[in-house]
Every structure is written in structure tokens, then in C-alpha cells.
Amino acid sequence: MTIRTLGRLLSEHPLFQGLSQETLDLLAGCARNEVHKPGAFIYRTGEDADRFYIVRHGAVALENASVERGVLTIQTLGRGEVLGISWLVPPFRHHNDARAIGWARLVAIDARCLRDKCDQDHDLGYALMRRFLPLFAERLKQAELQLMDVYNVHR
């Protein structure tokens, strides 16, 4: 897929709505397509969050593995959803494993390149922060609801 096609794809994504063409071109320049086999790890806990992803096709499971409870899937992300949001938060490391469920086609965006650009261009940094912050807030709200374990009546 060409950078131009990736650019169009990114410009149609709700997360990037309203960004200037210049910024979209920049994003497209940092982006590439990835295809992951069923069961393949896209990233693992503790790895550098040097990419974030938009799911194009398929689904990805976010997993936490522990000695006590084994492997638990805490969230699945499907088409259009954003994966790897730790790219924007120091220390820029993933805090769970991401594993493809079935074949997963993703757009991967080079976060290191983008972080550097954001440091140089604060308007770009602000524009991206405004788009990612609601995503963090949404994930936090979902995590709160999971944490409340509302369906557990035997507590």
C-alpha cells in the first residue's frame, strides 16, 4: 500500500479528523502496513512503545499474564480501534501483551519519529494530545467499570 493510500486511510479515521494535510502526510510518512498471523504477538509487556496501531481488519487481544491467574484477556480491539496508546506516555513502554486473534491487519505508526516531531512542533503535539487524551479517559472509564466487578454478586 502506498503512502498516499495510507494517508487517505488515516485521514478517514475519526482520531485524525480535522488534522491539516501536512500533518496527515507526516503521519502517513511514519506509517506502514503490518499483517500478523493468528496468535502472533504484536508487542509484549515491557517492550518499548515505539509504535501505535490502527486495527484495519481482524481483532487484537490485550492480555495480562500472571503466575496466579494465568493469561487473562482484559480487552479486545477491533476494526478502527487504536492499539498501543502507551506511545504517548513516559516511560513509553507497553504494560500488556497484544496478540492477534485470527489474521490481523494493522496500520503501524512509528511513534519515535512522531514523538520527535511533537517535541519540535508543539502545535502538532497539542493536536495529537487532544485526540489521544479522550482515548485515555475512555479506557480509564472502562477500566474503572471492570475494576468494580459489577456482575460479581458473591463478594
Binding site: A59, A61, L72, T73, Q142, L145, Q146, N152
Partner: protein
């Protein structure tokens, strides 16, 4: 004179009904099918009955069956106390007392011509199931019908076979998610409220029917209002400490409302302030 007949007519006396079947849904939930009192059940989707286990006690249980099957009553319960535990142990031929039906119903008439969103959490799918049956029976009268169902884990999903059948059926969109899962589960993981922004509905007119733990319902309402639905088009099935089912004892009082009499189905517009009051 207040006779036994008048008391029975007023829903004060349990009618003994024979258990036809009990089937296990999850480790702590079962569905109980009993003969309808007097041979003919007459209830509306969303209503509940009081089930009396002789010598044990009485509990309010929503009706989870098809209101067109008039010869039987279906209730799905979770073992959380002595009565509901005893229900889990009933066998075919045992007797259970039934009072009811009580309470308000899902606004299916009002929803005609509109998109309908059904959002269930955990055991909350049970009182929604009669509404789903009714909607499917009169499918043409409604717009998009979407069922969103969330549970704690794959093992705790209710009506799994039926969910699969509905998913394969045209004219209804069904999404199921669980809060947490092991690797054996290949479906969605995440809270049920996450599914709301992904649904197709006309926010100007859609009607949402929600049942589940109160916290889950409040989060769901938050998503629906953010999507543009009006508070008067969102309906919740409330669960409070219902005892008499007649609006007399006051156990289920929620501000000016008695949930057993004014509810259990209430519009969000009516309960919004009450739900936000911690002391109630």
C-alpha cells in the same frame, strides 16, 4: 369483607404452581419453568412475579419467558440467598407459590417505528428476553434492533444457545462481550458500554431498554446520552429490595417511587436525580 378470594385477586396470596422444568444456565443461575397459575399466564415483558418457596420465603423474580406461551411462566434466577438457593434445588413436580405479575413493562408500543437498543448486563438479560421475543415477533414494526450483552466471564453468559441463534438471524444485531476471559474465549472482551458507540441507531428517536447492575446501567446511560439519546427514551429495569410487590411495605422505596409498583421499568428521565442521590 376481606375474603381469601379478594386477597388472591389483589395479588396477596401465592398460587401453588407445579415445576415443569429447571435448567442450569451458569454455575449459580438456573431457569425455572412452572405451570401458569390457573393454566394461563398473562404478563407483559418487563414484569415480575413473587415466587414463594413454602417454608423458606418469597422473592421477586423477573419473568424471562415468552409472554405468548401462556401455559407456563419462566423465571431465571441466581442463587444469592436462602430462597434463590432453594429455587436452584427444585425438581420437576415440586410446588412453588406464584404471586403476580407485578410492575411496569418495557415500552414496546412506544418503541414502534423506532430503532431499539437492548443493553443487558449479567442476569439483566433475563427480564429483557421477553422484550426481545416480542420485538422479533413483530419485527417489521421496529427499526434497527440491537442487543448488547455483557457478562463477567464467558462462563457467566446466560442463554448462550439463544444468543447464537439471534446472532445468525437477520433483522437483529447481537454483540456479546465479557469483562475478562481466558484464552479459550474467542469473542469480545471489554465492558458492554464500549459497544454502544459502535451501534447503528437514530439518536433522535431510538429507544434503549437497559437491565443490569445499577452501576453498569449508569455507565450505559452516560454513553447513550453522549450519543444523543434523550433521557425520556432510555428505560431501566430497577432492582431494589422488593418485598410485598404491592407498594405497601416501603422496602423498595426510591424517593417518591415504589419500585415494585411504579417500576421496575422506569424511564431514566424519571429516576435520573434519584439515582444520583447516594442516600436513597
Amino acid at each position: 369483607m376481606f375474603t381469601a378470594e379478594r386477597a388472591a385477586g389483589a395479588g396477596m396470596v401465592p398460587v401453588p404452581c407445579r415445576v415443569l422444568r429447571r435448567s442450569r444456565e451458569t454455575a449459580d443461575c438456573c431457569t425455572l419453568v412452572v405451570e401458569a397459575p390457573g393454566g394461563a399466564a398473562d404478563f407483559l415483558p418487563g414484569q415480575f412475579n413473587m415466587l414463594y418457596l413454602f417454608g423458606v420465603g418469597e422473592v421477586p423474580i423477573s419473568i424471562s419467558g415468552d409472554h405468548r406461551q401462556r401455559d407456563r411462566l419462566v423465571h431465571t434466577t441466581r442463587a444469592v440467598g436462602p430462597v434463590t438457593q432453594a429455587i436452584q434445588e427444585l425438581r420437576r413436580g415440586d410446588s412453588v407459590g406464584v404471586r403476580g405479575p407485578f410492575g411496569s413493562a418495557w415500552p414496546l408500543q412506544q418503541a414502534q417505528g423506532r430503532d431499539v437498543l437492548i443493553i443487558g448486563g449479567g442476569l439483566g438479560l433475563a427480564p429483557l428476553r421477553p422484550a426481545i421475543y416480542a420485538l422479533l415477533r413483530q419485527r417489521r414494526r421496529y427499526g434497527n434492533i440491537t442487543v448488547l450483552y455483557g457478562a463477567r466471564s464467558p462462563e457467566e453468559l446466560l442463554f448462550r444457545r439463544e444468543l447464537s441463534l439471534w446472532r445468525e438471524r437477520r433483522g437483529i444485531h447481537v454483540e456479546v462481550t465479557v469483562d475478562c476471559a481466558g484464552r479459550g474465549w474467542h469473542g469480545r472482551v471489554g465492558v458492554v458500554t464500549r459497544l454502544i458507540p459502535q451501534c447503528r441507531f437514530d439518536p433522535a428517536s431510538a429507544v434503549a431498554l437497559i437491565c443490569g447492575p445499577e452501576t453498569m446501567m449508569q455507565y450505559a446511560v452516560g454513553e447513550l446520552l453522549a450519543a444523543g439519546l434523550g433521557a425520556d427514551n432510555v428505560y431501566l429495569s430497577m432492582e431494589r429490595n422488593m418485598k410485598c410487590a404491592l407498594g405497601l411495605c416501603g422496602h423498595c422505596q426510591l424517593g417518591p417511587l415504589f419500585v415494585c409498583r411504579d417500576g421496575p421499568v422506569l424511564s431514566y428521565a424519571r429516576v435520573e436525580r434519584l439515582l444520583a442521590t447516594r442516600e436513597l
